[in-house]
């Protein structure tokens, strides 16, 4: 089901009662989420992701704005009538019930002609369990299962009503790195199998980028950018989005546009067109560096670091903002410069420049 949010805003009274100003947790959300897609809602801690999810599922009422599922306005409809499934960070399974009872729980509240018999409930529960591959755990209790298994039970419980919309609030953050990788693949598979429109909250950009059809990057309650993961990564609208996406993160320098040249410190690293002369921030992705003894960007060499498949050169530069520059290079080029100076050329499409004041992106032609 297509979801449309129109000027959705949520204000909370400040928790500190002495301060009268309100907290704007979600600020003027205005997006359309296409049917049957997996959306990653992404942002730093406290930016309002959970609040946005609570608004969509109806646990919180918006201060302003409307929510549409398909063509229906669901803003004033209680959560149970919206047909949403919700999975929490800590799974929120009922500890005193078995897996089967947990999965059946949502079905027991159905009333009127939707009411199910015991057999039907059991059948549906088993169907949902099969989908997440926990059929053999049906009689265990949550305390007797691993985090990954509990997580799947939580998903099965959310799916058993065949919701129109599945909402997941940081569902993988309690898992270890390997299980997280595996479970997110699984999540992606389940989503494709069921075709349920899914919104997936995370503050881990890699997670969001890897499985989402579309990501929504937000900061302080405001949507900064939406789009396909790769597109947002390659083409961020501002410095925040550029910094937030990508591991290792983008390298940001203080720089300047002067006479159709882009300067970082004293080095003119790129000839550009179409940008006005002014002071800017220059962001260069780690994979945007090319080692070249005659390169235009000169940095002080620190060391070479090999981590798994990646080899990176760590360097410093006066104009660099932060600890140290990280440039990913092909492994076979790994060698230390004799004089302690390492020179790079940069790939033009991996270089992004931003306004110093607004931090908005400045577009240029290389």
């Amino acid at each position: 089901m297509k979801i449309r949010l129109e000027h959705l805003t949520k204000r909370f009274p400040n928790r500190n009662k002495k301060i009268k100003t309100e907290v704007v947790a979600v600020n003027d959300f205005d997006i359309e989420i296409p049917d049957g897609k997996l959306i990653g809602l992404l942002g730093p801690s406290g930016c309002g992701k959970s609040t946005a999810l609570n608004l969509i599922c109806g646990l919180e009422a918006p201060s302003e704005g409307r929510i549409y599922f398909g063509d229906e306005d669901v803003t004033d409809i209680p959560p149970e009538k919206r047909g949403v499934g919700l999975v929490f960070q800590n799974y929120a399974l009922y500890p005193h019930l078995t897996v089967r009872e947990n999965i059946i729980f949502p079905l027991q509240n159905l009333k009127g002609d939707k009411k199910l018999t015991k057999d039907e409930m059991n059948r549906k529960a088993e169907e949902a369990a099969r989908l997440v591959q926990i059929e053999n755990l049906m009689d265990r209790r949550p305390g007797e299962m691993s985090g990954g298994q509990q997580q799947r039970v939580a998903i099965a419980r959310a799916l058993v009503k065949m919701p129109n919309v599945l909402l997941l609030d940081e569902p993988l953050s309690n898992l270890d790195a390997r299980l997280r990788l595996q479970t997110r693949e699984e999540l992606s598979r389940i989503q494709k199998e069921t075709g349920i429109t899914t919104i997936f909250v995370t503050h881990d950009q890699e997670e969001a980028m890897s499985i989402s059809d579309m990501i929504v990057v937000m900061k302080d309650g405001v949507i900064n950018q939406t789009g396909e993961p790769q597109k947002v990564y390659d083409d961020p609208v501002n410095l925040f989005v550029a910094k937030f996406l990508g591991t290792p993160p983008i390298n940001v320098f203080e720089g300047e546009v002067r006479d159709n040249k882009l300067y970082v410190g004293e080095n003119d690293i790129l000839d550009i067109k179409g940008a006005d002369d002014k002071k800017v921030y220059v962001g260069i992705r780690p994979e945007g560096f090319v080692l070249n003894p005659a390169g235009r960007l000169k940095c002080k060499f620190v060391r070479v670091e090999v981590m798994g498949r990646d080899t990176s050169v760590i360097a410093t530069n006066e104009a660099f903002l932060g600890e140290s520059i990280r440039a990913i290079i092909p492994t076979e080029e790994k060698k230390e410069p004799a004089d302690g100076v390492v020179c790079f050329d940069v790939k033009p499409f991996k270089v992004l420049i931003f306004d110093r004041e607004t931090e908005e992106r400045i577009y240029f032609e290389a």
């Binding site: 209680p78 959560p79 149970e80 949403v84 919700l86 800590n90 009922y94 729980f105 949502p106 509240n109």
Partner: protein
């Protein structure tokens, strides 16, 4: 060389073993002593209850054993006063009071833990401050109230003042608050009403605490003395605790202690049985309520 260290080692372990053993022996000794101290009153109670009235009164220094045990005291206890009636009263009093109190406590703990209403914090603070008022004061005002309501010598007069307990509300509220908020949200998304959530999720999760509270309340009711004594002066409404006093006063010139002890034995049995069945649960509940998180 290696031999010597080996020997040293075995000597060491022997030493450790010996001190361990001594420690254990001391521990067991102390525990034995302790259990004798605890069990002795029970032994004394049962012993006295099987001594005959005359034998008991002729012992200038009470003996630690008896050679002619008798069950007559038990018969006396039930015939001298309507003990079975008192039993019945106590049973009604205990069951009804505990049942009503559980409903009151669970609902108010739920309200304080889960619901949002105006003045919640203030009301709860007032509630807690009630715990600081000494019980004797409360008994006096309760006595005046119940007398004015013309409820002396009635079950309702017996029961009414003890159908709530600030402490148990506090205790259960703490327990309820440890249930994660997300469970509530998950239930809400599935359309579970507050009341159904209480019944199907909160109560089962907090069952050990609830059972503990119920048992402690049963014990409290079963043993209550001051209030029933004050509020009843007709035999039909006496509880066993009052009845015991009556048996004592029923002796032939002197206090009939053996018959009284027989009554005490009979009265204690249900509580002892209850405790034996539930003692694991009680411990579990108390320790759960105490630690947060």
């Amino acid at each position: 060389m290696s031999n010597i260290t080996m020997e040293n080692k075995t000597i060491d372990t022997q030493k450790i073993k010996r001190t361990e053993r001594i420690k254990k022996a001391v521990l067991y000794l102390l525990l034995t002593l302790w259990s004798i101290i605890v069990i002795f009153p029970f032994y004394w109670m049962i012993l006295t209850s099987v001594k005959s009235y005359s034998a008991y009164n002729s012992e200038y220094v009470p003996k630690f054993y008896t050679l002619s045990p008798t069950l007559k005291n038990y018969i006396d206890a039930f015939t001298a006063v309507p003990l079975s009636r008192y039993f019945f009263n106590t049973f009604i009093f205990t069951v009804v009071t505990t049942a009503i109190m559980m409903v009151v406590v669970v609902l108010s703990a739920f309200a304080f833990a889960r619901l949002d209403f105006k003045g919640k914090d203030i009301v709860f603070a007032l509630f807690l401050s009630l715990m600081m008022i000494p019980n004797e004061l409360v008994v006096i005002t309760n006595f005046v109230t119940i007398t004015n309501l013309d409820m002396r010598n009635s079950y309702i007069g017996l029961i009414l003042p003890s159908v709530t307990s600030v402490f148990y509300i506090y205790f259960l509220k703490e327990n309820f608050e440890q249930i994660p908020e997300e469970l509530y949200k998950a239930a809400k998304v599935d359309g579970t009403s507050d009341f159904k959530y209480l019944l199907k999720v909160m109560i089962p999760i907090s069952r050990p605490t609830i059972v503990t509270i119920a048992i402690l309340k049963v014990i409290e009711c079963w043993n209550s003395y001051v209030w029933p004594r004050l509020i009843t002066d007709k035999q039909e409404y006496y509880l066993v605790s009052n009845g015991i006093q009556e048996i004592r006063e029923n002796g032939f010139g002197r206090e009939n202690i053996p018959a009284m002890m027989a009554a005490v034995v009979v009265i204690s049995v249900p509580l002892i049985v209850l405790f034996l069945i539930f003692h694991n649960k009680i411990m579990e509940g108390v320790s759960r309520g105490g630690t947060k998180g």
